[in-house]
């Protein structure tokens, strides 16, 4: 029986898109499937030894995946909201179905949802008078995606990086809408410096808190000041730098976390999405992370 602590990723994984193949497909008027890129990202995770696999968010920067499919949004130089935001059909479901088909039975699958507040703050709002109203409409739209994901994945992650910049007083309501009636384990990922919002984070209706402990080791001291029920998804390698952390460095980091948080550590992951890393860097970081986890947790 393996360790109860699992390795996973936050969301994005880098791929090399064959742009010439795409344009040749246009000239030949033939359909070029994106599945090979998803497969590439998934296989890299499997080969690195990751336990809980994600689709790698290869199609777009993660927010654009949602802006592209949610009614009322369009993508210009920046994404724009030009009409009432509404769910208009599955956003990531087909990709999740595909991933489920190609991963071994002993691997788990995590579904990824962009957070409503981050979506609100990362676009040009040309329709709503009030950001709060927009955020709630995004939450309602995402609720549908989360409910649909429930049938296809083993765990759901809501990514709200903007909370570390600004956490609205209605954050709990937003997250509650998205995760309402979801029976799966729910993770909230907030990268950046969350030291000032820990009291609000631990009040949210989620099961796992995911933060970048490697880039922000000061979070250790901040988190141990609080009593909280959630498990932790511990950032174990940095996503914002290309240096590949050696295994012993990650082991030291994990040991420190284990000592402080004991069995609260449920998952080990990179600090954030790895889209900005090269495929080589991303893979090596995952491999070292998995090996370090094996040394510390078995």
């Amino acid at each position: 029986m393996g360790s109860s602590v699992k390795t996973t990723i936050i969301g994005s994984y880098p791929i090399d898109v064959d742009r010439l193949e795409q344009i040749n497909g246009y000239y030949n008027q033939s359909y070029i499937s994106w599945n090979k890129y998803i497969k590439d990202a998934v296989n890299k995770q499997i080969n690195a030894g990751i336990d809980v696999i994600a689709d790698g968010q290869t199609r777009d920067p993660f927010l654009n995946i949602f802006y592209r499919k949610i009614k009322g949004c369009r993508i210009r130089d920046r994404p724009e909201v030009i009409d009432k935001v509404e769910f208009s059909g599955p956003i990531t479901i087909e990709d999740q179905k595909y991933v489920r088909k190609i991963i071994p039975k002993n691997k788990k699958l995590i579904g990824l949802i962009a957070g409503p507040y981050t979506l609100t703050q990362s676009c040009k709002n040309l329709f709503y008078k009030d950001d709060k109203e927009l955020a709630f409409d995004f939450a309602e739209a995402l609720k549908n995606e989360a409910k649909m994901l429930e049938d296809h994945v083993d765990m759901i992650s809501v990514d709200e990086p903007f909370f570390s910049v600004q956490m609205p007083e209605y954050a709990k309501e937003l997250i509650s809408i998205v995760t309402k009636n979801i029976s799966l384990e729910k993770r909230l990922h907030v990268c950046g410096d969350v030291s000032d919002i820990i009291p609000q984070l631990i009040e949210l209706p989620i099961d796992v808190l995911s933060h970048e402990f490697k880039a922000k080791p000061e979070l250790f001291d901040k988190f141990i000041q609080y009593d909280f029920n959630q498990k932790i998804c511990l950032g174990g390698v940095r996503s914002d730098e290309s240096r590949i952390e050696p295994v012993d460095e990650i082991v030291a980091h994990l040991k420190k976390a284990k000592k402080l948080f004991e069995d609260k550590i449920a998952y080990i992951s990179p600090d954030c999405g790895q889209r900005m890393r090269t495929p080589y860097e991303a893979f090596q970081k995952l491999k070292n992370l998995v090996e370090a986890k094996r040394i510390v947790y078995g």
Partner: protein
């Protein structure tokens, strides 16, 4: 019929003007040569001459679009251009392979033909080497194909122009500017039937209103790929030729109408359509037809 609120740019190459408000300028027609197999230079001379003759007869500007499929054809085709195309007529080179594009640019540069060259095309497949070559051997004008594999709607076409849909580092408009091409045409990227093919027509007014740039497409490609039309052999050629009227009807400025063999049908159809548009837009919007417009010739 309509007029754009955005000021409409007019791009000129070797005396041919492309762009403007609907009804101002005639639709420019690009006819393709050497698309398949070994180029037939003898027959092409006749076809080229016929196209230019039709252009004179209808007042519809003609630009030959030369496909170059293999390296061994580059020199021969450029010689053909030098020897058979009147010096006042521009031409486009239509090449898919980036290495062939680079080699062709170099030869066009050495042959001093770049000031008549329309580079067909810049798109998401552009390579770094190609960009370097364009900076060194800069064609007078380029066609940007707004093909976005992630979103084939008019919005998706604008996205790829703006930011490259995260496939290229910069948006296609910015790339084109960065590599030194000042005159550009937008191609709205006609897709296969059933793959949002109508969006290439719908995108014409959207893009012209957004940027004011000359815009068109190769809508005939959709007809060519409509296999169900094979059952209607007599009609297919006419459908192919008449599909081009969608472009001026939706405010577009140029049509890449496919094989030059189609010229006999396409030129009169487009002249007729241009006059229809011009009659109304002059009366309603005050868009005076240019002296080169077919309306000036026929009534």
């Amino acid at each position: 019929m309509f007029s754009f609120t955005k000021n409409q740019e007019i791009m000129e190459i070797s005396g041919i003007k492309i762009g403007g408000q609907p009804g101002e300028l005639p639709t420019v027609l690009f006819g393709g040569l050497f698309f398949k197999g070994e180029p037939d230079y003898q027959n092409s001379k006749k076809l080229l001459s016929n196209m230019l003759d039709l252009s004179k007869k209808t007042n519809i500007p003609a630009i030959p679009d030369f496909f170059i499929k293999k390296e061994e054809f580059i020199l021969k085709i450029i010689n053909f251009i030098e020897n058979n195309l009147p010096k006042n007529i521009p031409f486009s080179i239509d090449i898919i392979d980036p290495d062939l594009k680079i080699k062709t640019l170099e030869i066009l540069g050495k042959s001093k033909l770049l000031n008549r060259t329309i580079y067909n095309s810049i798109h998401v497949g552009i390579t770094d080497e190609e960009q370097v070559a364009i900076k060194k051997y800069t064609p007078e004008m380029a066609i940007i194909v707004a093909f976005n594999p992630k979103d084939k709607s008019p919005d998706g076409k604008i996205e790829v122009l703006e930011n490259g849909a995260n496939l290229t580092e910069l948006g296609l408009l910015e790339i084109t500017k960065k590599i030194g091409i000042k005159k550009l045409l937008i191609d709205t990227a006609a897709m296969a039937p059933g793959d949002n093919s109508g969006a290439s027509i719908a995108a014409i007014p959207v893009i012209k209103e957004e940027y004011g740039l000359p815009t068109g497409c190769a809508i005939h490609n959709v007809v060519e790929k409509s296999k169900w039309l094979d059952e209607f052999k007599n009609a297919k050629k006419s459908v192919d030729a008449s599909s081009n009227i969608n472009i001026p009807l939706f405010g577009g400025d140029y049509a890449i109408y496919g094989p030059i063999e189609q010229s006999d049908l396409v030129f009169p159809i487009i002249a007729w359509q241009d006059m229809l548009v011009s009659e109304y837009t002059e009366k309603y919007f005050g868009a005076t037809p240019d002296k080169s417009h077919p309306r000036r010739k026929f009534y």
